[in-house]
Amino acid sequence: MATLRISVPFGRLLTGSRGAERVCFRARTQPQPDTPLQPLPQPSAVRLLCRWLSSEAAESRSSEMKKPTFMDEEVQSILIKMTGLNLEKIFKPAVQELKPPTYKLMTQAQLEEATRKAIEAAKVRLKMPPVLEERTPINDVLAEDKILEGIETAKYVFTDISYNIPHRERFIVVREPSGTLRKASWEERDRMIQVYFPKEGRRILPPLIFKEENLKTMYSRDRHVDVLNLCVAQFEPDSTEYIKVHHQTYEDIDKHGKYDLLRSTRHFGGMAWYFVNKKKIDGLLIDQIQRDLLDDATSLVQLYHMLHPDGQSAQEAKEQAAEGVNLIKVFANTEAQKGAYIELTLQTYQEAFMSSHSAAS
């Protein structure tokens, strides 16, 4: 059974009550810091405490503790910084019944206050949907009653619809016509829960938009954000279709270089995490450098080093204690597939930078 690492803001996203099975307290402890730019505030006492808590499964946890997860604060902070905060794009006019706008007369202070509130609302909108591993299929048979074979012609699904049970713990069983009583599979579970506890935006059967050809049409119209939003509404985060659709979308974005579509949306973090795990951050790096987002580029490379500390570029960067542009150059030289292209883009950027500097001065 996969353990679900769930944090509180994640619980607020999904309206269905999902009880946290196991909330693991994870403190990031590392034997050596591999990101010199961010010194970890890790007093030795905390380290000892963590070791004492996780003394039982030390070996499994130590290998996992080295690898940062999606929900770590550092990772999240990097991803949030990279996502950006373009208010116009976040609060784009939604397709809805229009009403005439209202006008208010404000002083400068009031205007700033209103902008601050808008930024807070934007941050709530930018909460990232969770990235989980794929769930293992359920193949549990509860009873085999050969005496019932051939009596019925259809399967019967029995669902426990008590209100105060978390959906993950509900009992949903299926009696086959052959007499076996088995636990319902994940798809059947999702369908039954949607029938008895409908969630807004979710359909009982997956909509036709998730078919291959329809997805391709959506991609050709640059509507990746809509696809991902529909996917988050329809599927559970650890279901196969959810992961498949997300990965397909990310691949398509990478193929066409349309990274800017997801910037300032809540899916950017997931995309960056996927690329870093797959070691395909070249396209994203080039796009960031071309848009003069050097800080984002450096933080992306740092995240890469965090996730793959044993890689060549991580080692070299640690040796050279590289910072900023040099970090990117180190990465470009060592592990990048399109290293030359990255260097060329960096060069163009630096020339433009120098010329603008000289023009300004």
Binding site: P93, Y103, L105, T107
Partner: protein, 473 residues
Amino acid sequence: MGYGVVLGSAPPAEGWGPRFDEEPLGRRRTGCPGGRRRGSRFSMAAAVRAAGRLPALCGVWTGHFWCRQLSLNTFPTASVLALKTTFSNGPLSLQGTRDSRHFTSLSHALQTQCCISPPTSRSGQQYRPYSFFTKLTADELWKGALAETGAGARKGRGKRSKKKRRKDLNRGQVIGEGRYGFLWPGLNAPLMRNGAVQTIAQRSKEEQEQVAADMLQQREEWDRKRRMKVKRERGWSGNTWGGLSLGPPDPGPNGETYEDFDTRILEVRNVFNMTAKEGRKRSVRVLVAVGNGQGAAGFAIGKATERVDAFRKAKNKAIHYLHYIERYEDHTIFHDISLRYKRTHIKMKKQPRGYGLHCHRAIITICRLIGIKDMYAKVSGSVNMLNLTRGLFHGLSRQETHQQLADKKGLHVVEFREECGPLPILVASPRGALRKDPEPEEEVPDIRLDWEEVKAAQGMKRSIWSGLKRAST
């Protein structure tokens, strides 16, 4: 059959020859107002004048047998002309029996040169080469037939169904074409062929029948086209002139054109005035609005005896009374306006894009001319068109733009849209000083409520017409 000998009433086409309508042939102006009695005298003066116009034709005929026989000065030329008219009908008939002494020599010539057949009576139809109708011009005849002036036409007594239309009887007439189908080179056949001058020929019977049938069909087609009623464009409804377009105003004296302006009629009214001489005198009063769709618009009224003149006067006057109306984002007004102009109450509301113009039909027309695309307006009280227009322009000109509001109050004007969530959009900042103290905002706003709006908001309105959806404008 023939169109008789009515002398030419239309401007001659190429090769028709001189006009005959100004000078009546052979009519002695007796001066008696009553009936006209015609003698068979030809006035030489008239004839000589007519003869002056002959050269065109005779020039064509030089070298041909006519000139061998005739000489202009020695011959009463009127008879030549009379002969010509008979050509259009066919038989080179002898005028002979009645006015024999004038025509004998000519008829001799004709007999020697051409084949002449005596006039055959055509089934029942009368054919008189010289009659009452040949003695008058087409204008005079039509004047008598149409009877446009007269007691019946005055004071609005004329019935619309009794109005006759004048028809040009010489349309399609080719001098040379006749019943017997002779081909006169230079007239209805080419003069030269391969460098040689052709002779007079005659069409075969079938050809002539064909030609006659063609002519008949052509005339019927002309008649049909004339009778076809041109459908007038429909304005606000079937018979009104409201909402119809008059095109752009006429160019000004200094060459300025107003091609981008469109004019629309708002009201056409027949007004009457009592005069001393005629009594009730009718006049047409037209209210017209012009606009170019970019914010410049104006209106004016024009009055004249005829409708067309009134349209023209109003159009050209309106272009001199233009207002410029500020619009928010080129599609709606800046804020809600409720005004009372004399006894007309207008309440206008700002609407978002795509709402359309949900207003009185006159206000829709005017807003289209101004360039406003989305607005709600309610007209209550009097719906007098002139006051409605004046009130509308009055209210729209006195709008306060966002920039003006910001300057007046010294604060930022910030827009909040439902579809954009909590995002504040800065629309205007004061150009002068920015105030530090905020605008006092009470919990209960100090505005005058409208009872109709309150009823609608509370659901107390029992009208069947509220909330009705019509075709979008």
